[in-house]
């Protein structure tokens, strides 16, 4: 099973990498077609329509198929690795990183399916791919669990819920980035700001309750294993910071002058906090030191 999981992981990297190339080709082809179209009409000032000609559309379809394939391979990795280790594959930095990538792809494809904004893939897939590459650089052996992690139910649920939240936050950040690189009103045939705002919001609508659940489940586990539900452990604190930032976002989004760009910035800050929470235990120590990276 371990071997199978390794093969699935490699296949997932290749599929996702190819998918990313196709997303790039899709974007370039669409932009080029759009430029040619406007050049023909002489209209250079208006909003470009991202021209999805047959070629572009085909590229986009293939990109999606390959990305789905990557997601499918990662899902296979998840299953094989779970069987090989006997718990959700969330016990060290390697397992958590690959699972994080899985969460990003899952969240991305949910949003692509719902909103058909393939350009987002150009921002979401690199994050997933980077996590997978990062995972290849750290030890991937199946290690038996240290006493603190010997709680299969809570380990699996606590981290699985975190992965959904982190995946959603990645999509929200991708949408925010796309929002922010456009001038007011939208340009370059990129997805409309309102749509991006909506995607970002919807990602947080999913991610925020999930992050809340991560923290609550963590508190329950802490109460069982460490003897107190909250100990201001650095990772705990960082997750609380992340939670506060997304909480601020949800409020800022309904304040008259803070809609749009300011809220989008908060999504980026929130994603920064997410990454800090994720990687933080590598250097700030604390009770969550299970990375397996010494």
């Amino acid at each position: 099973m371990y071997k199978m999981s390794e093969y699935a992981f490699i296949a997932a990297i290749m599929a996702t990498g190819l998918a990313l190339l196709l997303y790039l080709a899709y974007a370039l082809s669409g932009l080029r077609a759009a430029r040619m179209q406007t050049a023909g009409t002489g209209a250079r000032t208006g909003i470009l329509a991202f021209a999805a000609g047959p070629r572009t559309a085909a590229l986009g379809r293939y990109a999606t198929i390959l990305g789905w394939l990557g997601f499918a391979f990662l899902s296979a990795w998840l299953v094989f690795r779970t069987i090989a280790t006997g718990h959700g594959p969330f016990a060290n930095m390697y397992e958590f990183s690959v699972s994080f990538a899985w969460g990003i792809l899952g969240a991305y494809y949910w949003f692509e399916h719902r909103y058909h904004q393939r350009i987002l893939g150009l921002f979401a897939l690199p994050v997933a791919l980077a996590l997978m590459f990062y995972a290849t650089t750290i030890p991937s052996e199946v290690e038996p669990l240290v006493p603190a992690l010997q709680n299969n139910l809570l380990l699996s649920v606590h981290v699985a819920v975190a992965i959904v939240a982190y995946g959603s936050f990645t999509i929200a950040a991708a949408a925010a980035l796309l929002y922010l690189i456009q001038p007011e009103g939208g340009r370059w045939g990129l997805p409309k700001p309102e749509v991006l705002d909506e995607i970002g919001y919807k990602a947080i609508v999913v991610g925020f309750p999930f992050l809340t659940a991560v923290i609550v489940l963590g508190a329950i586990w802490a109460d069982v294993a460490w003897g107190r539900y909250w100990s201001w452990d650095p990772k705990e604190t960082a997750s609380l910071v992340t939670w506060l930032i997304y909480g601020a976002y949800l409020h800022a989004r309904v304040v008259r002058n803070w809609r749009g760009r300011k809220s989008a910035y908060l999504l980026l800050v929130g994603f920064g906090a997410t990454l800090f929470t994720y990687f933080g235990n590598l250097w700030f120590g604390g009770l969550h030191s299970y990375s397996g990276l010494g």
Partner: protein
């Protein structure tokens, strides 16, 4: 954070804030209170407070925090500060590890910032005046917001504004006009059927013009109130816990010993045996297990193997596996042979410089304190493995005598016969009683429920206005509340499409 605020001022929403003129009318306590109220109910203010709290939290996760109990004791705090000196800011500790982080903070050194950090309470951020007052302000703000919003939410859910003026249908962010045919009842029936199919509640009023109103998830916005007030519940739990709770994170028992818990209810704990196991291939710890018996007034009331993920809970107290270490089975007798002390002594401290483990006990009735010092390992020439050193001090700290004892030997020290029977282990448990925990769990559950409710079940509303003219023709105006929420836009357009279709298909009946 709610749908309400996002939809702006729509029919049925909370009444607008009192006019500016009223507020500026008088100076004094009233206007001060009103100003405070306005501030506390301002979303902007809330966002700013949340972001500052987040900033403090970030500092708290970057700057190493003093362990609980240390900050209250100046001597302990100084020791701790000296100990953390090299790693106060991660940049310093990790210059070798992560050069980037180090490079970002090349100038920060312990000596430069420690005093400042201490003054600003940065080592105890979560007990600091900053954090506490901000948390208090935030709590006040969310209580104020919730009570400010509740009447409007209640009204919008129970007594929706059904009869709306004509202007609304041309100014609403989403609106459509449909030409309809048939009697008023027939038209209402068809529209109602479509809405009900989508699980909308339909209300109508007739004041010459027929007003229609449909909504679903009308309780969704109450999730806001639940979500916000749940934070107050959690906070209350934390306060109850810190006021009425009990906690001992350093409860040590040697094998074979029985130690009373420092609560007044006559509970004591005996350690039968402690076992630590390691994975043979990696050497990583596999298990820490304390076989523990709990006594209430001398009667056994619980017996369990306490593991890291398996605490023992009895009578509101919880016992957690926390740490462990060596212990020495010692006995002391007077020179006349009367046994004065016989127990396992946990070597629960460690002497920083030598690396030796240290434990202590009192000789009953003598006023003497005994320090028991274990070996630092094979290279230790003072206390070799298999030996235990005993040092006797008077209560004022004056040394009396000291000897190193081989296992199984009896040696006279300071006029007493000390026997070192054997080395064994002690377990370190965390013992706690936290009566606030149920509140914390209740608040957590409410929080998740509230967030799911408000975020995933936004209040959907649609208004209709039906004007029929003689001859069975009429105009149905429809308006929705969605503005920026594209999801709600499609919901509205879908409904309109279906209602339109209901009027284009031939009348079956």
């Amino acid at each position: 954070m709610t749908q309400q605020a996002r939809t702006g001022r729509l029919p049925g929403d909370a009444p607008p804030a009192p006019a500016q003129a009223d507020r500026r009318a008088g100076l004094g306590i009233d206007s001060l209170l009103e100003g405070a109220w306005d501030l506390l109910t301002s979303m902007k203010f809330g966002v700013i407070v949340i972001l500052i709290l987040a900033g403090l939290g970030l500092l708290g996760s970057v700057i190493i925090q003093a362990p609980a109990g240390v900050a209250a004791d100046p001597a302990a705090m100084n020791d701790w500060l000296a100990e953390i000196a090299p790693k106060i800011v991660p940049g310093v500790e990790f210059i070798q590890g992560i050069p980037v982080v180090g490079a970002l903070m090349p100038t920060i050194r312990y000596g430069d910032v420690s005093g400042l950090f201490q003054t600003l309470q940065l080592y105890t951020i979560f007990d600091s005046i900053w954090f506490r007052s901000l948390a208090a302000v935030l709590t006040a703000s969310l209580v104020a917001c919730s009570s400010h919003r509740l009447p409007g939410l209640w009204k919008s859910a129970t007594k929706p504004h059904v009869a709306i003026g004509e202007a609304f249908f041309t100014h609403a962010p989403q609106h459509e006009f449909i030409s309809v045919k048939g009697s008023s009842e027939e038209i209402q029936g068809r529209v109602g059927k479509v809405l009900k199919k989508h699980h909308y509640r339909v209300v109508s009023e007739d004041d010459g013009v027929v007003h229609l109103y449909g909504d679903k998830f009308r309780w969704g916005p109450f999730g806001t109130v639940i979500g916000h007030l749940s934070l107050v519940v959690i906070l209350a739990g934390a306060i109850v816990g810190s006021m009425f709770g009990f906690r001992d994170n350093g409860f040590v028992v040697a094998e074979g010993s029985t130690v009373p818990v420092a609560t007044d209810d006559g509970i004591s704990v005996e350690l039968i045996q402690f076992q630590d196991a390691y994975y043979t291939d990696t050497g990583a710890p596999a298990d820490y297990a304390s076989d523990v018996v709990v006594y209430q007034d001398g009667t056994e009331v619980a017996h369990q193997t306490v593991r890291v993920n398996e605490p023992l809970r009895y009578g509101g107290l919880s016992f957690y596996q926390s740490f462990y270490g060596p212990a020495a089975a010692m006995s002391v007798a007077g020179t006349d042979g009367t046994a004065l002390f016989e127990d396992g002594v946990p070597l629960a401290w460690s002497d920083g410089d030598s690396g030796r483990r240290v434990g202590t006990f009192l000789i009953p009735g003598s006023g003497l304190t005994v320090w028991v010092i274990g070996t630092a390992g094979t290279g230790d020439t003072v206390v070799a493995p298999g030996q235990m050193r005993v040092e006797v001090y008077q209560s004022d700290g004056t040394p009396v005598a000291g000897e190193t004892i081989d296992q199984g030997d009896t040696v006279e020290v300071a006029g007493y016969d000390f026997t070192f029977h054997r080395e064994m282990q002690f377990t370190g448990l965390s013992v706690s009683r936290d009566p606030g925990t149920p509140l914390v769990w209740l608040g957590s559950g409410l929080m998740i429920a509230g967030f799911v409710l408000v975020l995933m079940f936004p209040h959907r509303r649609i208004w209709g206005r039906l004007v029929t003219r003689p001859g069975g023709r009429g105009t149905l105006s429809l308006a929705g509340a969605g503005r920026r929420d594209v999801g709600s836009n499609t919901e509205f357009t879908d409904l309109v499409t279906e209602i339109r279709a209901a009027f284009t298909t031939p009348t079956g009946a």
